[in-house]
């Protein structure tokens, strides 16, 4: 079960978790990741722009890839767009599986790819003006480690 939504409005984490577990007895683990707007350096707000159509497609592609890598019983990804102020939710990833390993791993995998391949752009707003957020090399590195021959976590 896959749900992908792009929306202006906030999301209800408890409701999204319930939607993946209700009426099922095979789900033993649900991992959730929530990305929240930080108020660094007196940030007043940020505006998220996205590429409609492509954003859903890119997320769906990576959800499908996660489903090939781990035995998942459900995934929900919700990404907000528009103007958000510090403390507001930006993104939600919920992964459900029989065991915690796949749930944790898939949630991290999805966030790592979402950051570098889903077409969203953040513009920050402060008292002195606005500026587009620059992409971080660390985010690319985080995504690339999933394509490495052996992941460091694999030794665990």
């Amino acid at each position: 079960m896959t749900t992908i939504r792009l929306q202006r409005e906030d999301f209800d984490i408890a409701a999204e978790v319930a939607a993946l577990t209700r009426g099922r007895s095979d789900v033993g683990a649900v991992a959730t990741f929530t990305g929240i707007c930080r108020g660094d350096d007196a940030l007043a707000a940020m505006t998220l722009e996205h590429y409609p159509g492509m954003a859903e497609g890119e997320i769906a592609r990576h959800v499908e890839e996660a489903g090939k890598r781990w035995p998942l019983s459900g995934v929900t990804v919700i990404h907000r767009y528009g103007r958000l102020t510090p403390g507001e939710n930006i993104v939600l990833v919920v992964t459900a599986a029989a065991h915690r390993g796949p749930a944790f791993a898939a949630a991290e995998f999805l966030m790592d790819y979402l950051k570098v391949s889903a077409p969203f752009w953040k513009k920050e707003e402060r008292a002195d003006g606005t500026r587009w957020v620059a992409a971080k090399g660390a985010d690319s590195a985080a995504a690339e480690r999933w394509t490495a021959p052996r992941r460091p976590e694999a030794a665990e």
């Binding site: 391949s117 077409p119 752009w121 953040k122």
Partner: protein, 89 residues
């Protein structure tokens, strides 16, 4: 040489702001075969385009909503998007 039909270009984030419009229809001349060729051709259309595409390392592209590389052939593309590296999540 593949015939390149009229195509829609869409721009996002600071690429959109620099070009000064969110989208447009273009009909590039024969010889504009790849994404990179298209960027070169666009850059010669005016100072707003030259400014938007001045740093090619910072430009990402998608053809029909799939990420592509500069050397990708644009023949048959209906919608080509240009944007900066993504900063979602």
């Amino acid at each position: 040489m593949a015939y390149v039909d009229e195509m829609k270009l869409v721009y996002f984030a600071w690429v959109r702001e620099r070009v000064g419009k969110p989208e447009e229809e273009v009909d590039p001349p024969a010889g504009v075969a790849t994404v990179s060729d298209l960027v070169t051709w666009l850059s010669g259309r005016g100072e707003e385009y030259a400014y938007a595409f001045e740093n090619r390392q910072a430009i990402r592209a998608a053809i029909d909503r799939t990420h592509v590389r500069p050397e990708t052939d644009i023949a048959g593309a209906r919608e080509i998007a240009f944007f900066p590296p993504m900063t979602g999540g």
